[in-house]
Symmetry: C2
Subunit: 362 residues, 2 copies
């Protein structure tokens, strides 16, 4: 990796899959790794201590530039010396560029070659993001890994829109690379191109040929394309991303998605699914998805998942979780989120062991 | 105390105030003590582990018979062997009788000498509570301390209503005493009588003369009467409750209320104020109440209360708390509740030290 303080070492290979250690100024990340999403300066319902404690043991969380820029605002985070100290999180942070939220959450006023003018989804106030501004904001946030500002086409975009987004994303990537970053902040480039392999490969070559990115991400996945399309595309292109740098699949996905993508060569993942599904009552277990509101759980004294070592499964029953959910108790969201994130973390640990050829319990 | 497994030992006196140790089958409670309210089988936003950890170190929590009877329902809690195991709380539990909620939350259909018929505030279903039924429910909950089923007059009740409630509460107390309780469950009687000292004293004598209660409670306080009325009444009657058994002031109050009542001779307290105020953005500190949404805290990197040893004050800034509150993040309620309950616990610890004549930091 190009940036001082970072390194990526592949430790084992199995087909296109690999395990690795991504070293950052805020600690090592064992890959393939899942990054819990901390949209507004908190992984919803969780404390930093809970995220870091084994077996969950999150090594890196994601922060959202768009959300944090709008609220609490940069001067608040700057007063704390960055997002790590604002949120009390001592391990690594990756920030997105704000692009995805601008294109999905905000009211867009103008997209031009220079950047994007939009209205806040909170109060309607008008703001502008450009590649340079995104890098400035991420510098204030002080994340370990910043993402290049890209143009994200909608899920139903056609080839002309993809071509436009690819070309612009490349030019914006060059501008991000030219921006000054604080010491100890790496920068990842983003590959767009939609569901077509030739387009993906062409854009990958453009982004990779810029040469200076510390890692590479695949954007614009899981935006509505059929699962076989996503899987086939990942099989074809993920392993073609540079071997010596981390590969990050943005915003994906279910545990089977992560397994498939890791086998295709992906190292890093993020998704709101484990945290959001937890709050909505959908829990991942070794016996399949548990819909916690189901009346079958009403008086069930068994743990949610007998194979799970998380505090929720060690100390509570399905009936208690269902009761807390039905009564809209805050403790439900805590216990459910802890479990779902632990399930994801255990899925990644199992994948790492499998790739490394280690014996592991199913 | 009459019930096996319980004892109350006064360890120090100062005027009418006293410190004591209330021994229960689920551990010792140092009095004066504040009991966090766990309405629906959870002290809102908190885990049992957090409640039990010093400096909060809650020794007893309150469970609400009315709420738990309606949801999740008795057979669910019975399947777990009681509320302790359902909620994962290994220390002591006091349950109220359901009377207060029936008279304040439910739609009342009929009050007669036998009991109360009401409609659930959740689904409108019709239910009936009598002294015997309340004791049966509390037996299933398996609390350490059950409360007698009483009739609670509204805050604006006049003398005739108080006289009626007193007489009926006495007759219901006798029926509660005659009910079978599970081994290891104590029973406290409740004194009504409204804001008039003579009436309070008369009812106290009736309840105390029944002889068999393990402790005595003052009900019907903090229902709208002026603070000087409450304080004067407590000064006059609290110390007249039996000296050798715990005295419990139900549903009160602010930290100054607790200080005043403890000096008048009260040993046990419960109130939703620390937990509810926390969630609503009102935080108790050594420098007075902090309204967390106040713009003054926007970029304030100082801890909420520099004198507080709780995790919230040790690890977060006022700005971070304000941000989480404004963004409606679940983590806010957790951090705020932990702090407010710790403030109450520290208030009680300071009072105990003061009564015992021990030197303590302000």
């Amino acid at each position: 990796m190009k940036t001082s303080g970072f390194s990526f070492r592949v430790t084992a290979r199995r087909g296109n899959a690999r395990t690795g250690v991504l070293t950052t100024p805020h600690g090592d990340i064992l890959t393939p790794a899942f990054m819990p999403v901390g949209t507004q300066g908190t992984v919803k319902a969780m404390t930093p201590g809970e995220l870091a404690a084994p077996p969950l043991d999150a090594r890196v969380i994601l922060g959202n530039t768009y959300h944090l820029y709008l609220r609490p605002g940069l001067e608040v985070i700057a007063a704390h010396g960055g997002l790590h100290r604002f949120a009390g999180w001592p391990r690594a942070i990756l920030t997105d560029s704000g692009g995805y939220q601008v294109f999905s959450l905000a009211t867009l006023n103008k997209i031009d070659e220079d950047g994007v003018t939009f209205r806040s989804h909170i109060d309607g106030s008008q703001h502008r993001l450009t590649p340079e501004r995104s890098m400035e904001i991420q510098a204030v946030l002080g994340s370990d890994i910043a993402m290049a500002f890209d143009q994200c086409p909608p899920g139903d975009a056609g080839p002309p829109e993809h071509d436009l987004a690819m070309a612009r994303t490349t030019r914006w990537a060059e501008r991000c690379l030219k921006s000054t970053r604080p010491p100890g902040q790496a920068l990842f480039g983003i590959v767009q191109g939609g569901p077509d392999a030739a387009r993906r490969r062409a854009h990958m070559q453009e982004i990779v040929s810029l040469g200076d990115f510390d890692g590479h991400a695949l954007g614009g996945f899981s935006v509505g394309e059929p699962l076989p399309v996503m899987y086939a595309l990942l099989d074809e292109i993920a392993h073609e991303l540079p071997e010596d740098r981390p590969r990050y699949l943005m915003g994906v996905g279910t545990p089977p998605d992560l397994e498939h993508a890791a086998r295709a060569g992906i190292d890093l993942f993020d998704c709101v699914m484990p945290t959001r599904n937890a709050r909505n009552g959908n829990l991942f277990t070794s016996e399949g998805t548990v819909v916690v509101s189901n009346a079958a759980h009403r008086a069930d004294i068994r743990p949610l998942d007998p194979e799970c070592p998380c505090e929720t499964c060690r100390t509570t029953s399905r009936a208690y979780l269902r009761h807390l959910f039905m009564a809209k108790e805050i403790l439900y969201s805590r216990l459910a989120t802890l479990h779902n994130l632990t399930f994801y973390a255990r899925t990644m640990a199992r994948l790492r062991a499998e790739i490394a050829g280690e014996h592991t319990a199913a």
